[in-house]
């Protein structure tokens, strides 16, 4: 050991600084890569590769059992021109986004406002309202939801007691979509926490000045809270819209995987799943997935474009 070490030292001394630094950098970078490796591996193996495969599959006919067969744009053509059920799924999804997202954000904001002015028990209520967001995505809650809104379920019984007989929500077109949307609205915890954080950022002096000027509560909300909160509102809107487009579990559980009644909860992802895993048309399902990706991208871009006219950043005046 020592014999090999001795000639090494003078060699290092001959060409002193640069290689040593370089080696140090390599070593440091190496360590960084090692620490990054779980993430990089995950990103490549679990995200990038599947995406590439799915893009390829979207141009093929693939039934899981036999090798994929190249069909060019046929899946896309069929989707847009020959598949009435595809358009019904687009319609159901848009309807859902338009109902669920505003309702959810309005509720989140209302509860955040109530919590903000609360003196005691704030953290308890914050956790209590946040809990559904943690549970809500699970299959079990969706199944409970189905039971609650079913014919003879809790909601039906309660409404019957006050004289309104619905005969269940989840087995009627129109009503079923509402039941699923309510499940999403109920999970308003995440946007609520973000709203709460945003509300606490608004300087108290603004409200004090407004009260001195005699502004009403409503006036204060419209002229101070909303503009000051607009970046947070925008953030929540984008996030929840993207999530709403991808809604799957609640509709799957509530309709037993069929998107019924009468295709009223046949959301885009549910129909995608149906094409892929029930009908074994993986190529068609992949094509649908790529169209969804592009559509979400387009909607997000539009939201960003409109945001210029209504989102107000506090430091804008300084620029």
């Amino acid at each position: 050991m020592t014999t090999t070490d001795i000639p090494a030292k003078p060699a290092r001394a001959k060409s002193p600084a640069p290689p040593r630094q370089q080696r140090g950098r390599i070593r440091r970078e190496g360590a960084a890569w090692v620490f990054l490796s779980p993430w990089v591996l995950g990103a490549v193996v679990l995200t990038l590769l599947p995406m590439a495969v799915s893009l390829y599959l979207s141009f093929t006919d693939y039934d899981l059992f036999n090798a994929p067969r190249w069909v060019g744009l046929r899946n896309y053509v069929q989707m847009f021109t020959e598949d009435p059920r595809y358009w019904r799924s687009v319609g159901a999804t848009l309807m859902y986004v338009v109902i669920a997202v505003p309702l959810q954000l309005a509720l989140a904001l209302a509860v955040a406002l109530a919590l903000k002015s609360m003196k005691r028990g704030k953290s308890f209520y914050r956790s209590a309202f946040y809990a559904p967001s943690l549970l809500g995505a699970s299959m079990s809650i969706a199944l409970v939801w189905r039971a609650v809104f079913n014919d003879g379920g809790t909601v039906d019984n309660l409404l019957s007691d006050i004289g309104i007989h619905t005969g269940g929500w989840v087995n009627k077109p129109g009503w079923a979509l509402l039941a699923v949307a309510l499940l999403t609205v109920w999970q308003f915890g995440a946007p609520m926490v973000i709203f709460l954080a945003g509300l606490q950022q608004i300087p108290v002096e603004l409200y004090e000045a407004a009260s001195v000027d005699g502004a009403s509560r409503k006036r204060q909300f419209i002229s101070i809270t909303l503009p000051m909160l607009s970046p947070v509102l925008f953030f929540n809107l984008v996030l929840q819209t993207i999530q709403a487009f991808q809604v799957f579990t609640p509709a799957f559980a509530v309709s037993g995987g069929k998107g019924g009644p009468a295709d009223s909860t046949l959301f885009y992802t549910l129909y995608l799943y149906d094409r892929g895993f029930v009908a074994s048309h993986m190529g068609y399902a992949s094509a649908m997935a790529w169209v969804l990706l592009l559509a979400i991208g387009a909607v997000t871009a539009v939201l960003f474009r409109t945001s210029r006219s209504w989102v107000f950043y506090a430091n804008e005046g300084e620029r």
Partner: protein, 427 residues
């Protein structure tokens, strides 16, 4: 030295990362530990079938001390999807229960083991050759039929009699059936039957009663939009009259007996395959019985004896011989047959069928008697349906949803279905 420490921690992290990755994949090795052979056996069915299957499997394990059979089951729809995903991932269970509608797809996809090569472990000489041939695709025996079944009108005889309506008889027509349903609705105060409009199986019986079929010999549709329009107009009228169950009830059907109007106390009768109807008795109680399906107006019977289900093995199984032995046990063993009864249809093994016939009790006996009553009067079964059919069954139900919720006319929905069916069969 600091350099060494960095090297060490790098190595540690790398090893940890790798071991985490590897343990994630290594789970399956443990199942074959201890030198025991582990067979995975999956099937669809109801809790009644589950109890009997567990008992039979326990007996098999006792007689084959080196073999453990892990079973799992689900409802038909969920099972179908899970099996397809497993098969595509190269992870098909060693032994699996298959439907007539799945065989074509699974055999042509190379998922199934050639059972003809397992003759030593798996005896087939006691099975009627015509029935055995239903498990053959392109000249290879990929699956063994396990039982035979036929469709039936399941009804609560007491309620029916109490309503004072003439009981169903052999050879009754669809018009007579419809009259009975109207009368039942009037006198029993609830719909006579489930709405058969959503069921491709019922439509097939109706179609065959007119001498037509779902599929032609060259795997094309055997009917036109006109035929389907007539069927859906017929059922839609009955639904509007309250003679069959409402759209809200029909849309909840998912293949499990629990969600059928008959089980929910919302109808007097139901359509179902004969053996699975045993699931109703646990909910509705005794007093259920079976009647033949309505026939065409000239008396042409539409129902037929179908291999109720098959057993197949995975081409990828590591234990082809044990798998074959297990299939043999489930089909040919007398003690197993005594346990299984008619839970998977009346057994295909002829000596066993004759043997257990008199021993059958409760609903099994009802099924056996029912099969005897129609035996000999039915026409030959159709060929196994083409692969696209599995998803068309669901499409059929969805399109009829549009009719029963009055969002489409029978004509519009029928044309919708034909369009999708043609696309499905083309690919």
């Amino acid at each position: 030295m600091p350099g060494n420490r960095t090297k060490w921690s790098c190595a540690t992290v790398a090893v940890l990362t790798l071991s985490v990755l590897l343990t994630g994949c290594g789970g399956s090795d443990e199942s074959s530990g201890g030198g025991r052979t582990v067979l995975r056996y999956t099937w669809w069915g109801n809790p009644d079938r589950a109890a009997r299957t567990q008992e039979a499997v326990a007996l098999f394990e006792k007689e084959h001390p080196g073999v453990t059979v892990q079973t799992s089951f689900a409802g038909y729809e969920a099972y179908k999807q899970k099996l397809a995903t497993q098969a595509a991932g190269g992870d098909a269970p060693d032994v699996m229960q298959l439907d007539y509608r799945q065989i074509d797809q699974y055999a042509s996809g190379g998922i199934l083991l050639d059972l003809g090569k397992q003759k030593k472990a798996l005896r087939t000489d006691a099975i009627d050759s015509g029935l055995l041939a239903t498990g053959v695709v392109d000249g290879t025996q990929y699956a063994i039929p396990q039982g035979r079944g036929t469709e039936a009108v399941v009804y609560d005889a007491e309620q029916w009699k109490a309503a004072g309506v003439a009981l169903p008889r052999k050879g009754w027509t669809w018009d007579e059936w419809a009259d009975a349903m109207r009368e039942l609705a009037k006198k029993a105060g609830k719909p006579g039957s489930i709405d058969p409009g959503q069921s491709e199986d019922c439509f097939e019986v109706w179609l065959r009663g007119q001498g037509k079929s779902l599929y032609t010999k060259d795997r094309d549709l055997g009917f036109t939009a006109d035929d389907l329009t007539r069927w859906w107009t017929f059922t839609d009228k009955l639904r509007r009259a309250g003679a069959v169950s409402s759209a809200e009830q029909t849309t909840q059907l998912d293949g499990s007996v629990e969600n059928q109007p008959l089980a929910r106390g919302k109808a007097v009768a139901d359509f179902n395959w004969d053996a699975p109807s045993s699931g109703f008795t646990a909910i509705v109680g005794e007093g259920l019985t079976l009647a033949p399906m309505p026939s065409g107006s000239d008396g042409t019977p539409g129902q037929y004896f179908k291999p109720s289900m098959f057993m197949g093995a995975a081409a990828t199984t590591e234990h082809p011989e044990e798998s074959a032995e297990f299939i043999d046990f489930m089909i040919n063993d007398e003690k197993a047959a005594a346990i299984l009864g008619a839970s998977r249809g009346i057994p295909v093994n002829e000596p066993i069928r004759d043997d257990i016939g008199p021993q059958l009790k409760d609903f099994d006996k009802v099924v056996a008697d029912y099969q005897d009553s129609v035996d000999g009067s039915l026409r030959t079964p159709p060929k196994a349906p083409p692969s696209g059919d599995t998803s068309l069954q669901t499409t059929f139900q969805r399109d009829y949803d549009q009719v029963s919720f009055e969002q489409m006319t029978p004509r519009e929905a029928a044309e919708d279905f034909i369009t999708e069916a043609k696309a499905e069969l083309r690919s």
